[in-house]
Amino acid sequence: MEKRPRSFYVLATFFALFLLFLYGPTITIAILSFQGPQGGLTFPMRGTSFHWFGELFEQQAVGDIWGSFSRSLVLGLMVMTTTVVVSVMGGSAFRKKFPGSSVIFYLIITSLVIPSILVSLGVGLIFSQSGLPVHWSTSGFGAQLTWTLPFGLLIMFAVFNRFDKSYEEAARDQGASAWQTVRHVVLPIIAPMLIGVALFGFTLSYDEFARTLLTAGSYNTLPLEIYGMTTNVTTPVIFALGTLTTAFSFGVIAVFLLIVLLMKKRQTRHGSDAGQGLV
């Protein structure tokens, strides 16, 4: 390995400090989730235990963590799927010139910059004024899409800006129909990027508060539920939930790393002699 310049170490330290800063709350949460049974949400610690992890799977005094979690999960998946599909379609549409595309583009920008609470208020008003029932899977879903779609579309712009059109032409040349081209060529090639869009969509939805606030209807999503739970004493159970979420995320990343490593291994095993000069 080559020697690194000093700036590397300075920047790496900065990055480490930034990570520490990002993880400040996470670490606090992690520590406090091991409070003893008498402990609360703040320091000092009153003993240490796994009590609150156990409690997490029991019924809480107030609120329904797993019910709202499953709603958030379902909603997150709905938003994720829709974001991927609609963004891919939208992104593809924008590769062509069509009248009105600039209107849609500016709407997307507006959607990106409009304060969340406005969407929440507006969607809530539309539904209530037109007598439609608000529900997390209808109004809540739509309100969240106004947040995830701009991101999805912007990422798709980036993806398609880098996408070599000749792949599609080659497919058409090979007799693939428009749909076959998408199905067998475009989608597989951009698939890794779509994972990014999907992750983005899910994360933004899973943690969305303001846009769901006035649009969720009878049943709360997880952020709303936790907020609702704070109207009574909340316990380190919510910290245990945070710790589990974080552990789970680390797991996902570890799996991702493992897959990458395995794929690299497999590639070397396949024995590439690409670029070995004279044919």
Binding site: T42, F43, P133, N220, M229, T230, N232, V233, T234
Partner: protein, 391 residues
Amino acid sequence: AQNIKDVTLRQFGTGVSNLNEVAQKVKEDLGFNLEMTALDSDAVTQRAATQPDSFDIADIEYWICKKVWPTGNLQPMDTSKIKNYDKIVGIFKSGKLTPESDIAQGTAPHTVGFVDGPDSKSFATEETGWMTLIPTIYNADTLGIRPDLIGRPIESWTELLNPEFKGKASILDISSIGIMDAAMVCEAMGEVQYGDKGNMTREEIDKTMAIFTEAKKNGQFRAFWKTFDESVNLMASGEVIIQSMWSPAITAVKSRGIPCVYQPLKEGYRSWGGGIGLSKSLSGLELEAAYEYINWYLDGWVGGFLMRQGYYSAVPETSKNFMSENEWGYWFEGKEATGDITSPFGDVLAKAGDTRDGGAFLERMGAVACWNAVMDENQYMVRKWNEFIAA
């Protein structure tokens, strides 16, 4: 034919009384499903006022009623169908705890408790047989303090603005409630004389907010809180040592082994009351189930459950059946505990020999100076409150 056991009722309210244990017990005792959604107090008002289809049962406070009732989203209840109607304490019917007590200032529950008929949108001045909310839970609020960190007796609401506690005081940021606390303080300081704290004039509002704004600018407050939990954390972490607080929040702090007192003050309490209302759209079997639920609610189990957390039940008599003598004595009669007092969730809240802060029911509820209120100048007050927050 439809079976009442298939009915599901959706109830929302703040976490204070939207307890899962209640729903569980309903399922056991009555057989139908109760789905509880806990919301913060802002969301509760919004939900009740703007999303009538999103709930069957609204668990709200009386002062909110003033905003929600005129929307027509709730239907009044026929008191003849309420088994224990007669046993409901007087506060919710005539406004008088005992026949001789004065009616406190503010939006007293009985003033918004009745309407003339099933379709009426304006409140009646006396009992009519049509109730807006069935009272379920209420209490007398005061300041909470950390005796260990203050180290001297606290007797008056004025202490909230005492510079001694600079940077360690807090009040709550729910304007309708906060303004009442503020008024208690200003009145106690002798700075403002109110005609009716529950229905201030613009001038009174201005004066009150001026005093508090001044204090805020001087760094009196560490923070304002909006949810129950925040008040608990502020107090438990020692960020704040004196603040307006709710009884069970004190209990929660204490249950962590941190000394905390719900300090009775000489000027009296600021009180609040909650009840459950029925959605306009409720009918048929579901309406029947709702009545069954209300009757069950007043039947004592919930009352006991709530009383053991430090609230009061609207029908104390029935609750007594679900409390031990020790508990009844401690919580209701203000007697010394004869053994450990535990919360319904198993935390030990008091030991033998302890007495409840503020004493017996009659002593506490008898010393209510005002109720949480929605005043005529509410919009003006709200704007001033916003200015206070932004100052």
